[in-house]
């Protein structure tokens, strides 16, 4: 296991899946039936809630309460989407925009910081480097939830809460991203190449920008994707940091709509907007995950070897 699952040489993305091929006994279909049925049974469990969410989003309020949950009844999806976006003066649009902004800026920023940091840790020697790196690796063990209250306490002391930067700044710090970039850069950026560029007179930052960064691109996308998802899904940090709905991301906004709907009791149209709003908020991420499979698989692969 000298080269972990991050194998920069094996094509664009590190795909541990394709590295090893195995001889399979030909023509033994019988052995496939039971495992496939077993997996299929569980697949139903994992996809049922999402199927329900989609079906429920297509129903009018009456049908939602009166018809069977896992089958269609009428098709009001587009009305529901319209209601979701127009409720409370179109605040859903603001939440969607905030979520996109926080996720995009945090993901790009965190991936850039991680790429530069990981490259620095991998390819240079400087005083205190190992100690610093151990601090970073150790902090992977500190979950974001545990950090959110202390971060809020400090930021509120400095009068720096209830603004987009109070969400983005903490989300820019990705210790795991730095760790991943370092092991990737060690293998993907040949030291000889850096040395050759230096002899040609290129400066360190030019070498990073023009040569190293391109070689780091697959790991960059992986870190980008994971930070995007982490910020998109983040709930606790925005919940403690933000006090005005105009700064909320989707997660906090939808949770608030839901508690209003539940508190008012009975069949209020708030339920259809919460359900449709939830559907709209998960669709982009599901599409991203399906299309960017090789990146998250390699990222989690690296996590598995990390131990």
């Amino acid at each position: 296991m000298s080269a972990p699952t991050v194998t920069p040489d094996a094509g664009a993305a590190a795909t541990p899946v394709e590295v090893r091929r195995r001889a399979e006994a030909p023509g033994s279909d019988k052995g496939y039936v039971f495992p496939t049925l077993f997996m299929l049974a569980f697949l139903v469990y994992f996809l049922m809630p999402l199927a329900w969410l989609f079906i429920a989003s297509t129903k009018s309020l009456d049908d939602l309460f009166s018809s069977f949950g896992l089958w269609f009844s009428g098709f009001d999806l587009f009305d529901n989407i319209g209601d979701t976006f127009s409720k409370d003066d179109g605040v859903y649009r603001t939440w969607l925009r905030n979520t996109l902004l926080y996720s995009f800026v945090s993901a790009v920023g965190a991936a850039l910081l991680a790429a530069a940091g990981g490259y620095g840790f991998a390819k240079f020697q400087f005083k205190g480097k190992n100690l610093l790196f151990w601090f970073v690796v150790g902090s992977v063990m500190v979950p974001t939830t545990a950090l959110a209250i202390p971060t809020y306490l400090l930021f509120s002391e400095l009068g720096f809460t209830n603004n987009p930067l109070s969400i983005i700044l903490p989300s820019l710090v990705s210790p795991f991203g730095v760790y991943l970039m370092r092991i990737y850069a060690e293998a993907a950026v040949p030291s000889d190449l850096i040395e050759a560029a230096r002899i040609d007179g290129a400066g360190e930052f030019r070498i990073f920008g023009k040569i190293a960064f391109r070689l780091l691109a697959p790991a960059f996308v992986t870190v980008l994707l994971f930070n995007f998802v982490a910020t998109w899904n983040n709930y606790f940090l925005p919940l403690v940091m933000l006090s005005e709905p105009r700064w909320y991301p989707l997660t906090v906004g939808l949770a608030q709509w839901n508690s209003q709907a539940t508190a008012s009791g009975g069949a209020t149209s708030a339920f259809t907007t919460v359900i449709t709003g939830s559907l709209i908020s998960v669709v982009p991420l599901i599409i991203a995950f399906v299309f960017l499979q090789r990146y998250w698989q390699s990222g989690l692969g690296a996590g598995g070897v990390k131990g």
Binding site: P4, T5, V17, V19, R20, E24, G31, Y32, P35, M39, L43, F46, L47, P49, L50, W52, F68, L113, A116, G120, F121, A122, K123, F124, Q125, F126, W134, F135, V137, S139, V142, P143, A146, I149, P150, T151, L153, L154, F155, L169, P170, P175, S191, R198, E204, F205, W232, N233, L250, L254, A255, T262, A288, F289, V290, Q297, G303, G304, V305, G307
Partner: protein
């Protein structure tokens, strides 16, 4: 796979420099430090500084008379004796004992089946089981909250159809299991992919040898693959333990559905959040955050130690 232990990264780098590289390193060390500087600066500002400030806050107490006074470890001793806090810790520990083994067992079985190659449509299963991870925990909790519900949940629909009382998923006795189900639904696929990637990294000669010896797929999985998966399993277990102690979103969302079951202190994090925001007891909340951190650290250490001892046996 022997390298896949906690100590993997550091020795590799510490031993790398040869003569030539070291010379280059001396000359370019400043540039290397500058590359890491932006990250380190933010790391200090948004990671270390908050922890340091919270640690500072935790040794003070705000009093109605006399303002803020230094109280040493009083907040911590109060926390240890605070039954709402300890009950929450015990509750998540119980939750962890049920949820983590069940989830990891499922993830392990899925990964082994996918890796055996004896399944049709492997890609569909890989993506389909992983997809819940892309769903924000808030949305997952909202969704399951609706599914559990009596008004328009499909379980209640089925119960109505066959004339039995609808099951109560959010009662005192069932709540913890209902929360565990949400977490299992969200994270099983994530763990499956980690284990699957680790399986794929095992050199195939090992399986070929087992096949030559006449071992079937199941026996190969148990006797050859499982022992090699131990480091990856341990990693999954540690992260699940950390995650379990941080439980917050699900109980916070379910509070609006069953306020009398959840209350103010169902989990330690929910209690800390209520202390900080509803009660404005910031100093005490900071101290409890650290107490919770200590609990997480100790339990993670125990899990790691137990795994190591088993390895030695």
């Amino acid at each position: 796979m022997t390298q896949a232990t906690t100590t993997a990264p550091a020795p590799a780098t510490a031993r790398v420099p040869g003569g030539r590289r070291k010379r280059a390193g001396d000359r370019h060390g400043v540039a290397g430090f500058l590359f890491t500087l932006p990250f380190i600066a933010l790391f200090l500002a948004a990671f270390i500084a908050p922890l340091a400030y919270a640690l500072y806050l935790s040794v003070f107490r705000e009093q109605l008379v006399g303002g803020t006074t230094f109280v040493g470890l009083d907040n911590y001793t109060e926390g240890v004796k605070d039954q709402q806090f300890t009950d929450g810790v015990i509750r998540v520990a119980l939750y962890l004992l049920i949820q983590v083994p069940l989830m990891l067992l499922l993830a392990l079985v899925f990964a082994l089946i996918l890796d055996s190659g004896k399944v049709w449509l492997p890609k569909l299963f890989r993506v389909g089981i992983f997809v819940p991870y892309a769903v924000p925990t808030v949305i997952a909790a909202l969704m399951w909250g609706f599914l559990y519900g009596r008004d328009f949940g499909p379980f209640a629909d089925v119960a109505d159809a066959i004339n039995v009382p609808p099951p109560d998923f959010l009662s005192q006795n069932t709540m913890l299991f209902s929360i565990a189900n949400v977490a299992t639904w969200t994270y099983t696929g994530y763990n499956m992919i980690i284990l699957y990637a680790a399986l794929r990294a095992i050199p195939s000669e090992l399986f070929e040898a087992a096949a030559v010896d006449g071992a079937g797929a199941v026996r190969t999985a148990i006797h050859v693959k499982l022992p090699l998966l131990r480091p990856a399993l341990l990693l999954c277990a540690i992260f699940s333990v950390i995650g379990s102690f941080q439980l917050f979103t699900e109980p916070q969302i379910f509070y609006s559905l069953a306020p009398e079951v959840i209350g103010k202190a169902y989990t330690p994090n929910l209690y800390i959040w209520n202390l900080a925001f509803a009660d404005q007891r910031l100093n005490y909340a900071a101290a409890l955050s650290f107490l919770l951190g200590i609990v997480v650290f100790v339990v993670s250490y125990l899990v790691m130690n137990a795994a190591r001892r088993q390895e030695a046996r």
